[in-house]
């Protein structure tokens, strides 16, 4: 099953289970339309009607604010952000209202809402390419998740929908496996097993995608796959890489990373977000605070360079971490000796 299908199934199951759950967003299920930019909500209005699959005007402030208001008063909105970049247009509603209402009310109000935001560079230029994790991990009161497989996508989204707090789901455009008109060139579109029976995945539990002993790579979304590829190349050189996919950034599974470091004593963080103050900065800082003594080498961050995303594929491929770059950086890091 593709990630797009897994997400759709999660929404469908939760909407069947709980009538308070509904979707809103731009072009999410217009008759004859796209089902959202990446087909996740395609066809859901057939079963649930257009009241619960609510197509909105192009009004991001309203979309986010409406989600907050509905969540505060008994509903469970799932808002579709057509491209993650547009989160900037709703930033105030998310940072000042969604994230703060429970706290400002002294715990008397809850805001159970989900924002789904596609991220990643796909040759569309600087305003449709950003990975915005680092902006949102910085906001107290939000939970941030980033599923990289169909299994995780379904299990984590269902957990997000049942969470009593605002959750932002970052989904990667090249991992959806969207079909037809909405298919993406150079997409990876991993297909994964998803069990028949219902399951939920708790937040804050990473997975070890590959075991290794020489170095620990922490990566999310598309970078998990690039890191895995790098790992198998490096294996041939006798370098054993452990790849950890934290799956959720807030909360974050530091236990798993630290346990891994005790073994490998080397840490590399691979993210598509730009480097300066990306989510990787926080992970590096936290490890430098809590697990410094396990390290035998500097903490290396491999991230998009600190520039807006350029349009030309030649330049985009240079800015976004590539398998080659990961491989090179690992080699260098392995060489450094304390």
């Amino acid at each position: 099953m593709s990630i797009a299908e897994a997400l759709r199934m999660a929404i469908q199951e939760e909407m069947r289970r709980d009538e308070r759950v509904f979707c809103l967003g731009e072009d999410i299920d217009i008759e004859g339309g796209f089902g959202g930019a990446f087909t996740v909500t395609l066809g859901l209005s057939k079963e649930f009607g257009h009241e619960r699959i609510l197509d909105t005007p192009i009004s991001e402030i309203m979309i986010a604010g409406a989600a907050v208001g509905a969540a505060m008063t008994g509903m469970i909105p799932i808002a579709d952000v057509q491209y993650g970049d547009f989160l900037f247009c709703m930033m105030d509603q998310l940072a000042d209202n969604a994230a703060k209402m429970t706290y400002m009310s002294g715990g008397t109000v809850k805001v159970p809402m989900v924002m789904r935001a596609p991220v990643g560079a796909t040759n569309r230029g600087a305003q449709h390419a950003q990975s915005l994790e680092g902006y949102f991990t910085h906001i107290p009161g939000l939970k941030i998740i980033c599923p990289s497989t169909a299994y995780d996508a379904k299990g984590l989204l269902k957990t997000a929908i049942r969470d009593q707090n605002p959750v932002i789901v970052f989904e990667h455009k090249l991992l959806y496996g969207s079909k037809g008109n909405r298919a993406e060139k150079s997409a990876l579109s991993p297909v994964g097993e998803v069990p028949e029976e219902e399951y939920l995945i708790p937040f804050g539990q990473g997975v070890i995608r590959r075991e290794g002993t020489d170095i620990t790579i922490v990566a999310t979304l598309l970078m998990v796959y690039k890191s895995m590829e790098a790992a198998s190349i490096l294996e041939k050189e006798g370098i054993s890489v452990e790849v950890i996919d934290p799956r959720t950034l807030v909360p974050f599974d530091y236990d798993m990373v630290i346990a891994s470091l005790k073994k490998t004593s080397r840490l590399m963080i691979v993210e598509e977000d730009t480097k300066r103050n990306g989510w990787g900065a926080e992970v590096a800082a936290q490890i430098a605070e809590d697990a410094l003594y396990y390290l035998d080498a500097p903490i290396k961050r491999v991230a998009s360079y600190d520039v807006p995303m350029p349009f030309a594929p030649i330049m985009e491929n240079f800015v976004v971490p590539s398998v080659d770059r990961i491989v090179d950086e690992v080699r260098k890091l392995i060489k450094t000796e304390k």
Partner: protein
């Protein structure tokens, strides 16, 4: 208009409560016992009371950085309001919200949102929720003249219109956004004209006449309950106080101030009652004594209430 004696006296009691509460807060603030800043609503009582007098507990309001009147009129308890102002642990927001965020969801008052127009998109969501849950509850969304120039205003009005949401947009036009006169920041004569841009019926209302406001509110609320959609009410009113804490309003024309001060909504209601024999001077004195006492009690209660513990700051991040 239903003007039976009891009702009118209750309306006056509310007006007087809002006025005395704010006056008391002002006094306490000058004493220096209250932290932060205050955005008060003296002079705008008729809009809060007129709009909310007939709402049900199950109905909702969204408010602004100037929330005291709205909250009290919606039924947030005097004690919990006062305690919040004193930053006490038993304030309506446990001391975490403060003067700009008072509210109590259990009586339908969402915690006030202090980002100008920031409560309007939230009101859309509340209206959507009332509709989707198949209730006939309504939302009164308060905001100011200045807020009507925010993008959030535009997106919210349009959404409420296309989805026929049970929302009453109550624009308290007190002529100023902080120090800026509305005529400097919009070219149109009446903000009510903006309703047409969304297909929302609008009314211009004398915001200092509590009965006029209440009548307009009654019409709008009825439309909303019937599922006929939102209404935009422009309530023309005026601040009798500064924008925030010690603001001497040097930016306001003194004759303009005088004119408006003469239209004091509290006095007007009192006069109306006496002149129409709906109540005696004794009734009025009675009410005022009662309210004044209640406020004194609230202050005493608040002062003797427990402070939050420093570490309480780490609670309530998540629900």
């Amino acid at each position: 208009m239903k003007i039976d004696k009891a009702r009118v006296l209750k309306i006056y009691e509310q007006l007087f409560l809002l006025r005395s509460y704010e006056e008391k807060i002002y006094f306490l603030f000058l004493e220096g016992v209250m932290p932060g800043t205050i955005h008060q609503s003296q002079g705008q009582e008729a809009s809060a009371v007129g709009m909310l007098f007939d709402l049900r507990k199950e109905d909702y309001i969204t408010s602004t950085h100037r929330p005291a009147g709205h909250c009290l009129a919606k039924g947030v308890s005097l004690e919990s309001m006062m305690c919040e102002m004193f930053a006490k642990a038993n304030g309506c927001c446990k001391g975490k919200g403060g003067a700009m965020h008072t509210g109590d969801i259990s009586v339908g008052a969402l915690p006030a949102i202090a980002i100008t127009a920031g409560g309007m998109p939230v009101a859309v969501g509340v209206g959507l929720s009332c509709k989707m849950r198949k209730t006939d509850n309504v939302v009164v969304c308060f905001f100011g003249d200045g807020a009507s120039n925010e993008g959030a205003f535009h997106e919210s009005m349009n959404a409420a219109a296309i989805w026929n949401l049970p929302i009453i947009f109550a624009c308290e036009n007190n002529l100023y956004g902080a120090s800026t006169h509305i005529n400097m920041v919009t070219k149109i004569k009446d903000l009510a004209e903006r309703g047409a841009a969304y297909g929302i019926p609008s009314e211009i209302v004398d915001g200092n006449d509590v009965f006029a406001v209440n009548e307009a509110a009654t019409r709008a609320i009825e439309r909303a309950r019937k599922g006929l959609g939102p209404t935009f009410l422009e309530l023309k009113t005026y601040r009798r106080c500064g924008h925030s804490r010690n603001d001497s309003c040097g930016y306001r024309d003194k004759t303009e101030e005088k004119e408006w001060y003469d239209k004091d909504p509290v006095k007007r209601c009192k006069t109306f009652i006496i002149e129409n024999g709906l109540g005696t001077v004794e009734d009025i004195v009675e009410i005022e004594k009662k309210v004044t006492q209640a406020i004194e009690n609230a202050v005493a209660f608040a002062k003797s209430s427990p402070d939050p513990k420093p570490e309480d700051a780490l609670e309530n991040l998540y629900f």
